[in-house]
Amino acid sequence: MNKPASFANWKIFWKRWGVGLSVMLVIVAAIVYYYIRSPQATEAVLASTLRQSVPLVLGALCGLLGERAAVINIGIEGQMLMAAFVGFLVNVYTGNLLLGAVAGVAVGALLGLLLAFMSVTLKIDQIIGGTVINILAIGLTGYFYKVGLSGHGKLNPIPLGPLAKIPLLGTVLFDNPPITYAAIVLVFVVHYVLFYTPWGLRTRAVGEHPRAADTLGINVYLVRYVNVVVGGALAGLAGVYLSLEAVGSFERLMTNGRGFVALAVMIFGKWTPLGSWGAALLFGFASAIQTQLQFGGKVNIPPQFIGMLPYLLTIIVLAGFVGRARPPAADGIPYEKEG
């Protein structure tokens, strides 16, 4: 009787992890193959994949923290842009990168507070609330931006000692600037908080059935406020990444739709941090390949078309996979207390 049981176990295991494992195997095989053929290009693409994924995964974490508590945040783009701008300005005027980063994160959190106030307290339609933030950010940053400002350096890679010397892995994973490290750590932190702590349980309950949470003495409004504000801080970090880590300066509309792609990433990741990370890496890879193709000069496709790659991927992913994902049941619905 032992054999059929273990066979059944194996079947269950395969059903659950089979697809993931196969995909993983193919990816690893492909990486090894290309690494042997051309080590530099492979390292460059993979390192770029990781870095490109940073703002997306941070934005997605922001989005899913809000939506798990039933607040849709389409203002991620605006939160990022504003944080990128303020972070850069603070760096310009103080010359301090850390201060700039803190200021950017604070601005993101502040815009989160604004969104929470509009959608939780005032019960404004959440899509409109997010749009307000987006327009506000575009307007303010555009108005106050002056050409010719230059910042004082940018956040540089910190190699993690001997780990950074491992071929391929070292360059890709252990030789990154601080916010990239932070993003990876945050993925696991948010995953832990959401699924293994009382706060996470309450957050998910508030997103699924707020009245049930209320009858158990959980403060629905507080849970939503905290999640949206913390999410805003994460979006702020994504913005700071763009201006202080990736580029080292600010440009008009430099977020370039990443806040919206982050929402696609979140949905593709089925509202989970780990899933979102995977999705963000996929999008990061699309961007990295695009850069590699444009500057590798080996293919004869107009650069505009190659530049479309990440956005095309967004459309395909959303059209093809959204149907299977299930958002939190109360997503987007303001909570009205009784009595």
Partner: protein, 508 residues
């Protein structure tokens, strides 16, 4: 036994336009089941929401074990040992039983949730109170009766000494009600005091130690099952004598109106739900479909009313098959439908009563004038029907969603009965309603029959089927296992047929 666990004095709660609780007194003794009986809208749920801290009373005091307390939020109520099982379950459907149990009062290990302790708690409480539940089951996969147990466990986990059960039997099958009563007895033996809100008289007499009756926001009186009976309670609830036994003359069936032939229908999962079913309903008779819920009645009704695809077989209305089984064709050819789920399929809850009353006819004169709505005709229609069918509402422009269940049902009945009907399909027409409304709807259905309509009545309440139907078809696992003439079989025989055993007494 005689110690007072909870007492409210002089509670007053006003809502815009209504005095929901008018100087209410109520005392719950330690370890008793105290039934709170009243029609829909009598103020029972309002009172309980006040006790549970969801509403704030305008006046009045609450005492627990003789101590005066203020309850500002559910948090306070839980702290004071009050647990509530709401009429609509307050469970997170995608969570496991254990997660639902601990939500809001989570055991932790460091910063982490201690789910092992949660599972342990489920098992311990399950054992202690005889409430069998799997801690790792996802709540939405569980039958309603088991979900209710989870709700009770939630209260017990929070060490509730006073348990409020708000219409707990409304969603249960007769067997589940029996099980619930056993559970309630076990709880009271362990010192829990239970407030049992309901409007079902039989249940009250079966389980309660004391009965407090409310009517229109006031306490009418408190009594015990020994001192009263069904008729007495009904009179207290409604404020007049109620006819519990339906009066009707023998049926005069004539030509066939609805003919169902070899019907096969599938459920959502593609499994056969209705299996080779054939029957007729004639003009001037009521055919009752009896059966334990979930034996294909829902799918049968949906197929007949054009809401579900037919896999094989025919449904003919007046000898004609509807083209594409379109609901509008059926409506225009005289079919009326009182659906099983009045909130989901019977009404548009966010529409006004006036609009809900023209849902079947809005596109035809007099309610439509060319491309425009004829507001005057719609209003006139609504005012007439609200009056005629005794819908209790502040205005015809109130949304259907804000009415009580009984009044919602009356709106549906008014809408369907205001058209000339040749066939009425009524699925669980009185589920969750109070005696007054039940009496009224029963009368109307009989009246419909006497006016020459064919009536197909589906109900899980055997009493209802037996008092209304002229013939009874028993459904079991998707098949009609017997068709009998009412009065020729006993309740016990019907019960056996519903449970799937064969009794050879087939008629009609």
């Amino acid at each position: 036994m005689s110690e007072i666990a909870l007492e409210v004095r002089n509670i007053v709660k006003r809502f815009p336009g209504v005095l929901a609780n008018d100087h209410v007194h109520f005392a719950l003794r330690q370890g008793e089941v105290h039934a709170l009986l009243g029609e829909n809208g009598a103020g029972k749920t309002t009172l309980m929401n006040i006790i549970y801290g969801l509403y704030h009373p305008d006046e009045g005091e609450i005492y627990i074990n003789g101590q005066k307390v203020t309850i500002d939020s559910p948090h306070d109520a839980i702290r004071l040992g009050i647990g509530m099982v709401h009429q609509h379950f307050m469970l997170v459907p995608v969570f496991t039983v254990a997660e639902n149990l601990i939500l809001g009062a989570e055991p932790t290990k460091g910063w982490s949730l201690d789910l092992r302790a949660a599972r342990e708690a489920v098992r311990r409480l399950s054992k202690q109170y005889g409430l069998e539940v799997d801690p790792d089951a996802i709540v939405e996969d569980l039958p309603v009766g088991v979900q209710q147990r989870v709700e009770i466990l939630k209260a017990l986990y929070r060490e509730a000494k006073v348990l409020v059960l708000d219409e707990p039997t409304a969603v249960l099958t007769p067997q589940e009600v029996e099980e619930l009563f056993v559970i309630m007895r076990q709880l009271t033996e362990r010192g829990v005091s239970i407030i049992f809100i309901t409007h079902k008289l039989k249940e009250v007499l079966a389980i309660a130690d004391h009965i407090t009756v409310m009517r229109r926001g006031k306490v009418v009186g408190t009594t015990t099952p020994d001192e009263t009976n069904e008729a007495g309670l009904a009179a207290m609830m409604v404020g007049r004598q109620v006819v519990l036994q339906v009066e009707k003359t023998p049926a005069k069936p004539s030509e066939v109106v609805l003919a169902v032939e070899n019907l096969e229908v599938e459920d959502e999962r593609g499994l056969p739900a209705v299996d080779d079913v054939s029957f007729d309903v004639r003009k001037g008779e009521i055919l009752g479909i009896a059966g334990v819920q979930g034996n294909g009645q829902t799918e049968l009704v949906e197929a007949i009313t054009g809401l579900r695809r037919i896999r094989r077989g025919h449904v003919r209305l007046g000898g004609q098959e509807a083209p594409d089984r379109a609901p509008r064709y059926l409506i225009e050819h005289g079919m009326g439908h009182i659906p099983e789920d009045r909130q989901k399929h019977g009404l548009v809850l966010s529409y006004t009563i006036a609009d809900n009353l023209v849902l079947c006819t809005y596109y035809k004169p007099p309610f439509a004038r060319g491309l425009q709505r004829n507001q005057a005709a719609i209003v006139e229609n609504a005012e007439r029907l609200v009056e005629q069918f005794d819908v209790r509402t502040p205005s015809i422009f109130t949304t259907a969603g804000s009415l009580s269940g009984g009044n919602q049902q009356k709106v549906i009945v008014a809408r369907e009965f205001s058209r000339p009907l040749s066939l009425l399909v009524a699925n669980q027409p009185t589920r969750g309603l109070d005696v007054g409304s039940i009496e009224y709807i029963h009368k109307r259905i009989i009246q419909m029959r006497d006016q020459g309509a064919a009536v197909l009545l589906v109900s899980a309440e055997l009493d209802e089927i037996m008092s209304l139907a002229d013939r009874i078809a028993v459904m079991y696992r998707g098949k009609i296992v017997a068709v009998v003439v009412t009065g020729e079989v006993t309740k016990e025989e019907l019960g056996l047929l519903m449970a799937g055993s064969r009794v050879e007494k087939v008629a009609g």
